[in-house]
């Protein structure tokens, strides 16, 4: 992802070191009990040779108390992906802890203490897998040494299991808690001297472990952002300018102030262009004793706006314009071979334009944040994917040093990229400062859909050529959509390398001529990143075109994909990318290579599991698509049934995935199940349109997401066994599902899909 605020650069090439926490470190940590045995893990950025260059700060703490409780300070936001479970379980497994005695404490947003906490880009497990295991292994060795000393036996004869050190030969065992005092006095062993578990020794990694918040969630006691309260807290609901860059000219709050419970009306300065992700929109806030009074008061506000330059913007018109623009020559961004010649010499040329709309995140918990400003300090509670970004943005807005701002992370009622933008937290902080009251800003669903950081609309055109020998000889991909970068810099009119590197410039297939061209597209809304980002429209175009090519060549699409991937090898793209680089999701491509063999393996696996090629009754069909994103290899086969009334139902979805070492099988499966549903909404339902500069859709009646009766019914997830470094699973399920569904619909009905959401009547 090309996200300017992300701290990932610092975290590239990271090494770690385990240390014993001193009393001073200890006092600085919230959430830990006094006493006990505490390890910290330090992270360092490295240069190419592996030499440490920057200290990124102690990142993780692990405490074992004298009662045997294992406390792990986790520092990643939980938004449904199970990270608050997966990271601690890695430590717990290596340590040999008893899971029921493991307690998870959510760290506050503090970069000095925990390093970058930005939770996006399917990043968490990938980054912390090894350091977490090492911390667990070091603690284990210290306990074994302590026990060995006590029993007068060799350390090598000891092991750990279920929160105890055991001496295999004598059958003796002793709880961790009883060894804490001795373990504390021992020197920290060198990482080189520890032995990590072998795969078959894992008790939790690679198994299904329930999420830690499960019971609280089902009993209704889990605390999301919306559930936080402090004494004397007031609620703010804001009327924001419906058009990007528009500003409040004047307002009349007479009727608003007459609503019982309404306390104050405060205008918010904002509406800057570029909007960035941290600045508030221009608006008027209604502060009230309760949410209902604030909503009512807001509805009665009479605001006159200066709507600004985007007031005539119409999204349907932009799609039309881009559809013409895309027929011209663009800026060449990747070039291999000679496409023009391939086209001249082709036996057959297939060309189509692919259109996809704006999308909103629609987390069921709308944005909200609570802020208290007192004595030059600010404390915030918010469902945020990026607490440090929030802290810096708040500090900036309030004009205080970042050290004076404390951000508490709550559970997130969905994130999908929306809650990594701190704009709503800044609103709360500004209002708290201005009013002198503790303020919870509550977005309504309407606010959320009107003022999101939208997934951008997109127009793409692919021209593919087939030569005299029935081979695909040329591939020309034209792309036009407003870039995420335009949110930060309005002069950006074309996609960034990072956006193209999500399927388009890393088109992996062995076609002799490949040309990727981009076109200008202006941003008229705040553009953001949504679960799997630009992979969505790019892979929709690519994977449906490949299906069409297979048909034209009289080939099976699965066989074609395997052939086009060619021999097992690692591929690179850099020498073909014009004036740029392939981002590889922020990772060094020599460490995380693009391996055709791994891709072929998931394709073969999914074809076998879905029984690809089987005959289906009329009106039913199977469709295939494969795609690597966020370093994870995924292949997908969708079975669809289309009724005479064009009603689409999806009885089966098969996924095969290679995400390296599988840490928590159940949460990988659930991410794929959810990813299919998320993509089904994109394929079948969701669309944001804009008229006169303002979003048309107001709520879940007009902005639709799939409901249970139309949702894909059985989602089968086949995980490839691997000992490779683990990679993310939050985003990779989304991209291939939509084109696989489109291809299945073609198989069932003979109708090709070139526009999302799918409309079979059109």
């Amino acid at each position: 992802m090309n996200i300017p605020t992300s701290n990932k650069k610092e975290l590239k090439n990271v090494t770690s070191q385990v240390f014993k926490a001193s009393r001073r470190d200890f006092l600085k940590m919230g959430g830990l009990l006094a006493g006990g045995f505490v390890l910290g893990v330090n992270f360092f950025g490295c240069n190419e040779k592996g030499e440490k260059i920057t200290s990124i700060a102690p990142n993780v703490y692990l405490q074992i108390t004298s009662t045997g409780e294992v406390i792990i300070i986790t520092h990643r936001s939980e938004m449904g992906q199970g990270i608050r479970t997966s990271l601690p379980l890695i430590v717990a497994d290596e340590l040999g802890a008893e899971w029921s005695k493991v307690r998870i404490v959510q760290a506050e947003g503090d970069e000095k203490k925990y390093g970058s906490q930005n939770t996006d880009g399917s990043f968490s497990v990938r980054m912390f897998y090894k350091p977490m295991r090492e911390a667990g292994a070091i603690a284990k060795l210290l306990f074994m040494q302590a026990a060995a000393k006590q029993w007068q036996v060799p350390v090598a004869e000891c092991d750990t299991a279920a929160g105890k050190v055991v001496h295999r030969r004598s059958g003796k065992s002793i709880e961790f808690g009883k060894l804490v005092t001795t373990a504390q006095t021992l020197p920290i062993p060198n990482v080189k001297d520890i032995k990590l578990k072998e795969r078959q020794q894992f008790t939790m990694i690679g198994k299904a472990t329930p999420i830690v918040d499960l019971h609280d969630i089902v009993s209704g006691t889990a605390v999301f952002g919306i559930d936080t309260v402090v004494e004397n807290m007031k609620i703010a609901v804001i009327k924001r300018c419906p058009v990007l860059g528009g500003k409040v000219k004047s307002y009349n709050d007479k009727e608003t102030l007459a609503v019982p419970g309404v306390l104050k009306v405060i205008p918010i300065k904002g509406g800057d262009i570029p909007p960035t992700i941290e600045k508030p929109l221009s608006g008027v806030a209604v502060i009230a004793e309760n949410t209902w009074a604030a909503i009512k008061g807001r509805d009665l506000l009479d605001v006159t706006w200066d709507l600004g330059e985007h007031a005539t913007y119409d999204s349907a018109q932009q799609l039309e314009e881009l559809s013409k623009e895309i027929l011209k020559k663009g800026t060449i961004r990747r070039n291999r071979g000679d496409f023009d010649r391939a086209k001249v010499e082709a036996k057959k040329v297939i060309e189509h334009t692919y259109i996809a709309p704006y999308l909103a995140h629609g987390t069921i918990e709308p944005p909200n944040a609570l802020a208290v400003v007192k004595n030059g300090k600010c404390e915030v509670w918010a469902p945020t994917q990026h607490p440090q970004g929030a802290r810096d943005a708040v500090a900036n807005a309030l004009g205080m040093p970042a050290d004076e701002v404390k951000v508490n992370i709550t559970l997130l009622g969905g994130g999908f990229g929306r809650k990594s933008k701190p704009d709503f937290i800044v609103e709360a902080a500004l209002l708290a400062q201005e009013s002198g009251l503790p303020i919870k800003v509550q977005w309504t669903r309407e606010d959320d859909l009107h003022h999101d950081f939208f997934h951008a609309l997109s127009v793409q055109r692919i021209t593919a050529t087939i030569d005299q020998n029935n081979q695909i000889s040329g591939w020309n991909h034209h792309i036009a959509y407003p870039s995420i970068s335009a949110t930060f810099d309005t002069s950006v009119l074309q996609p960034a390398d990072g956006e193209l590197g999500q399927g388009a410039s890393d088109f992996p297939y062995d076609v002799p001529a490949v040309k990727v061209e981009t076109h200008d597209a202006k941003a008229h809304l705040r553009i953001g990143w949504l679960r799997s980002v630009r992979n969505i429209p790019q892979v929709f175009a690519i994977a449906t075109m490949l299906d069409e090519l297979a048909e034209a060549r009289g080939l099976d699409p699965v066989k074609q994909a395997l052939e086009l991937l060619g021999d097992d090898r690692a591929i690179t793209f850099d020498d073909e990318i014009v004036d740029g680089k392939y981002g590889n999701y922020g990772e060094d491509i020599s460490v995380y290579p693009w391996e055709t063999g791994r891709m072929k393996k998931v394709i073969e696996k999914v074809a076998q599991e879905a029984n690809w090629g089987r005959k289906l009754p009329a009106g039913s069909g199977l469709g295939f698509a494969a795609h690597k994103s966020f370093l994870t290899y995924v292949a997908c086969i969708v079975e669809v049934k289309v009724g005479p009334d064009n009603k689409i139902s999806i009885p089966h979805v098969h996924y095969a995935v290679d995400c390296g070492t599988a840490v928590n099988i159940d949460r990988i499966k659930s991410q794929f199940e959810g990813g299919a549903q998320f993509s089904a909404s994109i394929a079948l339902k969701s669309e944001i349109t804009v008229k006169e500069g303002a979003v048309v859709q107001n709520n879940f009646d007009s902005y639709q997401i799939v409901r249970m009766p139309e949702a894909p019914q059985q989602i089968h997830v086949h995980i490839i066994e691997s000992e490779d470094k683990p990679t993310g699973v939050g985003e990779p399920p989304v991209p291939p599902f939509t084109p696989a569904l489109c291809n299945a619909i073609y198989a069932a009905t003979g109708k090709r899909i070139y526009k999302l959401p799918i409309d079979l009547k059109g």
């Binding site: 939980e78 938004m79 449904g80 992906q81 199970g82 299904a208 329930p210 999420i211 918040d213 499960l214 019971h215 969630i217 089902v218 009993s219 209704g220 006691t221 999301f224 919306i226 559930d227 609620i235 019982p260 419970g261 309760n290 949410t291 209902w292 009074a293 009512k296 629609g362 987390t363 069921i364 918990e365 709308p366 559970l411 997130l412 009622g413 969905g414 994130g415 999908f416 309504t444 669903r445 159940d666 659930s670 199940e673 959810g674 990813g675 299919a676 549903q677 998320f678 709520n699 879940f700 009646d701 997401i705 799939v706 409901r707 249970m708 009766p709 949702a711 894909p712 019914q713 989602i715």
Partner: protein, 151 residues
């Protein structure tokens, strides 16, 4: 503003609120029962589902003035320790992802099973279609409900 006396989870509460205040905000903001969630405010997502005399209602679109003598049950009131059979099934199938929609889903499922203890898959889909889950936990919800129906 008016004074209402309402029955929630077998307790009587006196509240002094506007007549049109939706039950959702009375529960959350006035009574501090925050297990019931806000998702849309327009009866479109089901996050705010509670029971009125055992029937599922969308509390975001149900004014306090309409509650009358009816008995309200929220997620906090369906079991003492979060161990209602439906809640247990939710844990067994590890239904939640972010979890935000789940209290509404559970309340809707409990009401469904009360009126129809042996629902078919299709009946479950129909009954649950008012409850959105953006994380996509629908299939586990269905499996959890079916497991309770069979038990």
């Amino acid at each position: 503003m008016a004074n209402y006396s309402i029955q929630v989870n077998d307790k009587t509460y006196e509240v002094d609120v506007m007549d049109d205040m939706p039950l959702l905000w009375v529960l959350r903001d006035v009574l501090g029962l925050r297990g019931t969630k806000y998702g849309c405010g327009k009866a479109l997502c089901g996050a705010c589902t509670v029971h009125l005399d055992g029937t599922a209602i969308r509390s975001c679109s149900f004014a306090i003035s309409a509650v009358g003598k009816g008995k309200i049950t929220t997620i906090e009131g369906i079991s003492a320790n979060g161990d209602h059979p439906v809640q247990q099934a939710w844990e067994q199938y590890i239904v939640p992802q972010c979890g935000y929609c789940q209290t509404g889903q559970i309340m809707n499922a409990v009401a469904l099973l009360k009126s129809n203890p042996q629902p078919s898959e299709q009946e479950i889909e129909q009954a649950m279609q008012g409850n959105l889950c953006r994380c996509g936990t629908y299939n586990r919800i269905k499996a959890a409900i079916l497991s309770v129906a069979k038990a």
